[in-house]
């Protein structure tokens, strides 16, 4: 006996609370009543995301996706779909905006994600080149080598509107054109896989899941700009990505897709791997190139830009992993196809590493112009534990925090910059009411102090000074003048620092001072941290009315500063308390109060 249909009932916490359980029971009862229980298996699943439209019911193999299903609908689903084989149209998910946004695909689909960069991740075996080839892999290279001139490739990139995904969003075609226009005996092609933002891992996943897409794109670039030599600069902390890349390079060489006389066309190109030692500044292109040359990884002033004068003084195209992974698709599907996706100024998709206080963390790829609300609430399934959304950090230590009022802004390069943040590499950290914005700024500034290469004083001294001021505020010793100082130093760094690291290091602090000034003032004037993150400002005490005298807190306390007994209830000696929070976590009656 085999089932003909499968009905999946979303069993995520969001849907559970909106009566998914009743729907499940009703479906089973209806299947029994209508005599089809042997034709259909009804199962509960994990969360499908989309919790705002829950409960979700999905029927396979027809792929019918029903939203906002009520228990009363169960019978109709069974009667129509299982008995008669027809979809229940009125429950199907519809999204009119979606239609406008992705005109290129005329199928109606419910997913908010659209995967170009991650097209093969989780689909192919990354260690088997045949699977990549079967999914149109190296078809772009084939097309370029057999039927396109270098200028045609640049024209395609121009029409596609592709911009660098590493952060700044420089038009890719322009970079390539600069390099192509320079006469030189040697040119280089570099892949920046030195992903270093806290919380970002899209480049690692792309190389681990689909290494050939980067190799193919770099080879196309070599042909276009007239280069025979490429480097992938990847951090040594990514051993699996490096391993898979090595396997991929070897297989590509064996197949004649890399090396001398590629595919019998006379064009030669090969790629070497260079390992980075994990310095954040080496993600900055000039520092990265220095590091490849064997020098200490420190930025040098631009111009001249690497496209004109890069590795060993030769024209060098440097793009990041995500940018590269887009290119084969642009060539095979056409620039017009690509240009239809996204917003006016920002084409295509963006991959975000969605982490933090969100239910469904993960790698998400969405068309440019998707709103943060869609990413966090539809795809991410909302905030963990039903807490309140406070802000979303984009762009890592170079970015800023986007607050609730801007959740509906369509995301692209320009809109994020306008909000005082930036696209960055695509780390997206969701924060809730338990996160302290001053503490978050301090964390990012500490990161920048560690990672500043020390070459220019605005960054070397500026990050240290800003960090000291932020520490002072989190300790409750700050003054209102400190806020002004922070802003002053920050603005000076933005103007005077040598490279992107120093110019953007003040961003998280400046953005939070702008959006959460009241929280800074609270730390300074009231000596209070509302999120309870800044240890020095937190005081633990015990609510006598709630305390039942079990003594669990006293047993957990590592410094024995809680005393009392069953009759008298317990108290905390604040002078000895080290504010570890163990008592707060231990108490089952919420009697320990954190203020």
């Amino acid at each position: 006996m085999a089932y003909k249909n499968f009905i999946l009932v979303c069993g995520g916490t969001g849907c559970e609370s909106s009566r998914a359980d009743d729907i499940y029971k009703e479906l089973i009862a209806s299947a029994e009543a209508l005599g089809v229980k042997d034709d259909v298996q009804i199962v509960k699943t994990g969360c499908f995301g989309f919790c705002e439209k829950g409960p979700i019911v999905k029927v396979l193999p027809s792929e019918s996706f029903y939203v906002e299903v009520k228990p009363e609908d169960a019978r109709e689903i069974i009667a129509e779909q299982v008995v008669k084989g027809r979809e229940v149209t009125r429950l199907l998910y519809k999204d009119d905006r979606q239609k406008d946004r992705i005109k290129v695909e005329d199928i109606q689909f419910y997913q908010k994600q659209f995967r170009i960069v991650l097209r093969n991740c989780g689909v192919i075996n990354p260690e088997n080149i045949d699977e990549y080839i079967a999914r149109d892999g190296y078809a772009a290279l084939e097309k370029v080598l057999s039927s396109m001139k270098p200028d045609d490739v640049i024209e395609q990139l121009k029409v596609s509107g592709l911009r660098g995904r590493g952060g700044a969003g420089f038009p890719t075609w322009r970079k390539w054109m600069f390099s192509k226009g320079v006469q030189s005996d040697q040119k280089y092609v570099v892949c920046n896989a030195d992903e270093g933002d806290p919380g970002a891992y899209m480049d690692r996943s792309t190389i681990e899941g689909d290494p050939h897409s980067v190799i193919e794109a770099m080879t196309i670039c070599g042909y276009t700009v007239g280069s025979t030599k490429g480097f992938v600069y990847i951090r040594a902390e990514y051993p699996l990505a490096i391993e898979r890349l090595k396997i991929a390079l070897k297989q590509a060489r064996e197949y004649g897709l890399l090396g001398d006389d590629i595919l019998g066309t006379g064009f030669s190109f090969d790629i070497e791997i260079r390992l980075g030692a994990g310095a954040f500044v080496c993600g900055e292109e000039t520092a990265l190139l220095q590091s490849i040359e064997g020098n200490r990884g420190m930025p040098i002033p631009r111009p001249p830009f690497p496209a004109v004068k890069g590795l060993w003084g030769k024209p060098t195209i440097i793009n990041n992993v995500e940018t590269w992974a887009n290119i084969p698709v642009i060539i095979t599907k056409g620039a017009d196809w690509f240009a239809k996706i996204g917003t006016e100024t920002s084409k295509g998709t963006k991959v975000f590493a969605l982490t933090g206080k969100v239910n469904n963390s993960g790698l998400v790829e969405v068309p440019m112009g998707t709103t943060l609300r869609e990413i966090i609430f539809d795809i991410g399934g909302g905030i963990k534990g039903g807490k309140k959304f406070k802000g979303a950090q984009t762009g890592g230590p170079s970015g800023g925090i986007i607050t609730e009022e801007f959740l509906d802004t369509p995301i692209d390069y320009e809109s994020l910059t306008a909000l005082g943040s930036m696209m960055g590499s695509g780390g997206l950290i969701v924060m809730d009411e338990d996160d302290c914005m001053v503490d978050v700024s301090r964390f990012y500034m500490e990161f920048c102090v560690d990672e500043s290469c020390g070459k220019c004083s605005p960054c070397r001294i500026g990050t240290n000074q800003m960090h000291a001021l932020l520490v002072k505020i989190t300790k409750g010793q700050g003054t209102l003048e400190d806020l002004e100082k922070l802003e002053k130093i920050g603005l000076a760094m933005k103007k005077a620092a040598l490279c992107g690291l120093g110019q953007t290091a003040p961003n998280p602090t400046l953005a939070t001072i702008k959006r959460f000034r009241d929280e800074y003032v609270e730390h300074i004037v009231d000596r209070k941290c509302r999120a309870g993150k800044c240890k020095d400002l937190v005081v633990y005490s015990i609510d006598k009315d709630k305390c039942i005298g079990c003594g669990l807190c006293a047993r957990k306390c590592p410094v024995n500063c809680i005393s009392g007994d069953k009759t008298q209830k317990f108290t905390i000696d604040a002078s000895k308390c080290i504010k570890c929070g163990e008592c707060f976590k231990a108490c089952k009656f919420s009697a320990v109060v954190k203020k």
Binding site: T45, P61, C121, G122, D130, R204, G256, L257, G264, N360
Partner: protein, 131 residues
């Protein structure tokens, strides 16, 4: 394989495409695909992979089943992930697949042709290559 020419690459692609459409690799009709990115491995994908191999052996399925690896599907919150593709069943993605669930997938899904409850997740996006 030796170095190819443009023509040979085209031929190879058509050939391999056929294989992918058939979803039939090396004459085996059932594919169990384990997500083995850093994230999946960190969450225990290797243990799940081993358990699948063991269960497939125990049920003498190795003539029909091919176990493959792939990269990260992006469902970090439910790693490790396992996809099962086989005739007569919808292609299914399972998440939070620990060793016990891995065994359930072989016993219930592959042998019993029923879905394993509470572990089903959704592929996050349509496939642009397939179209």
């Amino acid at each position: 394989m030796a170095k190819m020419t443009l023509e040979q690459l085209r031929k190879l692609r058509e050939e391999k495409k056929g294989d992918m459409v058939k979803r039939d690799v090396e004459g085996k009709s059932v594919q169990i695909i384990v997500g083995m990115g850093t994230c999946g491995i960190a969450a225990g994908a290797k243990q799940s992979f081993d358990e699948i191999v063991k269960a497939v052996d125990e049920y003498k399925l190795s003539g029909d089943v091919i176990i493959r690896q792939t990269g990260c599907m992006g469902l970090c919150h439910v790693e490790p992930t396992v996809e099962v593709v086989m005739p007569g069943m919808p292609a299914t993605i399972y998440g939070r697949v620990d060793a016990a669930t891995a065994r359930d997938i072989v016993v219930k899904h592959v042998v019993g042709k029923t879905l394993v409850e509470n572990h089903i997740y959704d592929r996050p996006a349509v496939d642009i290559v397939k179209k």
